[in-house]
């Protein structure tokens, strides 16, 4: 009895993380599990009613032969990207990552988000060439085969469309899943050749301040990037999570600019031209220049700033009765590592620090988790991230004050503005239904 009392006392200690049922993250680390178990007792089904076990049909026959390249179980068919242009009309196409159906910090290649502006080109890797020219000492041409002999480097990096989360500019919370709201961000391990290595061979004319990257796709998509980024961590990526790039993600090679808006990470990369001034290509002069409340517009935003969102529970889900749940989500920053993530279950009145899944890598997804005991009452779940440079994810009020809000909701697939990195709130009703709310 004395030991039980002691255990319960510790349990109360660990519970005291924040309001409305948030439990200390250390409960995830083992010493709290027994307490978490104790909390579950009395809520879960009684063991007396369980059916006796019997062998299922698949345990009584030989299974299927193995395919050359395996795909997920047929029971996971709903774990798929959503397409913005399923009938392939003459415009761009987006495919969004189903974050609410995934866990961990890596996006499977088949579910990596993509936006293509003129379809997915079918590029013969034997014929593809990358040319580096302009303000260099000697212009050079590289084949995929020659690049494959260069020193390779691997890094995990998130990629996010500058227009991800654009529905959050709506003046009212759009009733959409985390996939529709935030599905234009993914995270993979990229392997390739550092751009600085290739620029050592071409040499750089002192007058070069920018480089223009251009793709071999039908729009010949091009963006201007400061040479500063080329000499920092830019990479010519050849592999995605260990295999060659997916066609929709830039096969056979793409520019990778860790932490910078997706559109700049030019896919199907065929040309890099060093220049003294930015080109002000359509995507930088128009599309990715954001109108501000003042009427002026930002130019060269580049950075995907510190951000987080809860993926479970999230909009469209339903909690099956009061009890212990794990709040889990994704945090990332284009500036560096995630320092901490705070979670609230009462709409931001009180906060508890979430556990961060190791390893916490720079400019990569960091999975955060926190135990939560739902008492069946209303709850508003939020997450807020800090990065190692001290940047903090703005509250919605702070964000709207700086960046404005639309006069009326825009279609969920449109990009009425960009670079939204504020807090996302999920409201849990007494019926367990989870909906998108503003708080």
């Amino acid at each position: 009895m004395a030991r039980a009392r002691d255990r319960n006392a510790r349990g109360r200690n660990l519970e005291a993380a924040a309001g409305n049922g948030l439990i200390d993250r250390r409960a995830l680390l083992g010493r709290g599990m027994m307490i978490a178990g104790a909390m579950g007792a009395g809520i879960g089904p009684a063991s007396a009613g369980a059916e006796p076990l019997a062998d299922d049909p698949w345990s009584l026959e030989v299974g299927d032969p193995m395919p050359l390249y395996q795909v997920p179980s047929k029971f996971e068919a709903k774990v798929a990207r959503t397409l913005s242009n399923p009938n392939f009309e003459p415009r761009n196409s987006h495919a969004r990552t189903p974050h609410h159906l995934l866990d961990g910090a890596t996006t499977p290649n088949g579910l990596h988000f993509a936006i293509n502006h003129g379809g997915v080109p079918t590029i013969d890797p034997e014929k593809h060439r990358l040319v580096i020219h302009g303000l260099v000492k000697r212009p050079l041409e590289f084949s995929l085969e020659s690049l494959s002999r260069y020193p390779m480097t691997s890094r995990v990096s998130f990629l996010e469309c500058g227009g991800n989360s654009a529905p959050m500019f709506s003046p009212e919370p759009m009733q959409e899943t985390v996939q529709a709201l935030h599905g234009l961000v993914s995270c993979a391990e990229w392997t390739g050749v550092k751009l600085s290595t290739l620029l050592e061979e071409t040499g750089i004319d002192p007058g070069a301040k920018w480089f223009i990257a251009e793709g071999a796709d039908s729009p010949h998509l091009s963006r201007s990037v400061p040479v500063k980024k080329a000499l920092d961590d830019a990479m010519i990526a050849l592999y995605q999570n260990g295999e060659r790039l997916m066609p929709g993600n830039g096969y056979p090679m793409r520019l990778l600019l860790p932490g910078y808006e997706g559109n700049m990470n030019v896919k199907f990369l065929r040309r890099i031209k060093l220049v003294d001034q930015p080109a002000l290509s359509m995507y930088e002069a128009r599309t990715y220049s954001q109108i501000l409340p003042s009427g002026k517009a930002y130019r060269f935003y580049f950075l995907q700033e510190v951000k987080s969102f809860i993926t479970s529970p999230s909009h469209g889900g339903k909690l099956k009765g009061p009890g212990l749940y794990e709040i889990s989500g994704i945090a990332y920053s284009g500036t560096g590592r995630i320092e901490k993530v705070m979670v609230s279950a009462d709409g931001g009145q009180s906060w508890a620090q979430a556990a961060l899944q190791e390893p916490v890598l720079s400019k990569a997804f960091t999975r955060f988790r926190l135990p939560w005991r739902w008492d069946g009452g209303p709850a508003t779940l939020q997450s807020r991230a800090w990065d190692e440079a001290g940047n903090v994810q703005p509250t919605r009020a702070e964000f709207v004050a700086a960046r404005g809000e639309l006069a009326k909701p825009a279609p969920v697939l449109s990009f009425p503005n960009q670079h939204y990195n504020s807090i996302t709130s999920w409201g849990v009703g007494t019926n367990g239904e989870v909906k998108h709310v503003y708080a």
């Binding site: 009309e89 003459p90 415009r91 003129g118 040319v131 580096i132 020219h133 212009p139 050079l140 041409e141 590289f142 020659s146 260069y150 020193p151 290595t197 290739l198 050592e200 061979e201 071409t202 223009i212 251009e214 039908s218 729009p219 010949h220 998509l221 091009s222 400061p226 040309r271 031209k273 220049v275 001034q277 930015p278 080109a279 002000l280 290509s281 359509m282 002069a285 128009r286 220049s289 954001q290 109108i291 501000l292 409340p293 009427g295 002026k296 517009a297 130019r299 060269f300 935003y301 580049f302 950075l303 960046r403 404005g404 639309l406 006069a407 825009a410 449109s414 990009f415 009425p416 503005n417």
Partner: protein, 178 residues
Amino acid sequence: MSTPDRAILTAATLLLAMTTAASLAETPNLGKPIDEAAIAAWDISILPDGTGLPKGSGTPAEGAVIYAEKCVSCHGENGQGGIAAALVSDQKIAGISAAQKTIKNFWPYSTTIFDFIRRAMPFQTPRSLGDDEVYALTAYILAENKLIGATDVMNAQTLPQVKMPNRDNFILRFPDRI
């Protein structure tokens, strides 16, 4: 500084120089030299000051003919009302919605119009237009927006001179990253 210290410093400098030289020499050097002339067909970037604009020219009237044949099905009669973005509009910007952006009220440089048409349009057959045709279409769009006169000729000299109304309305978001 004592002599041994200086010797160590010299040695360290030498080592650093050797290491740098070695790391430079260590790249595989598999890049194949190529002349700018051989890159010309791919080198389609136009800079705001006009660098990269090719020879050739076009007028709004010539552009209207090409527009009716190759652009109208997506961009609509007179550059508006089609399934693709409106090219001609007097819309003003009020509020933060990107849906209001037009060439006239937002695009800062006329060179971007030439650059984008030449690299990406028509949607189904990009790179099929000759440079004169691209100049003509650019002239047509600028004239329909009343940004140039109805008979103005667009070429490598005149196009960069077109002053776009919104040019000075931009703020660099992160100047230290440039």
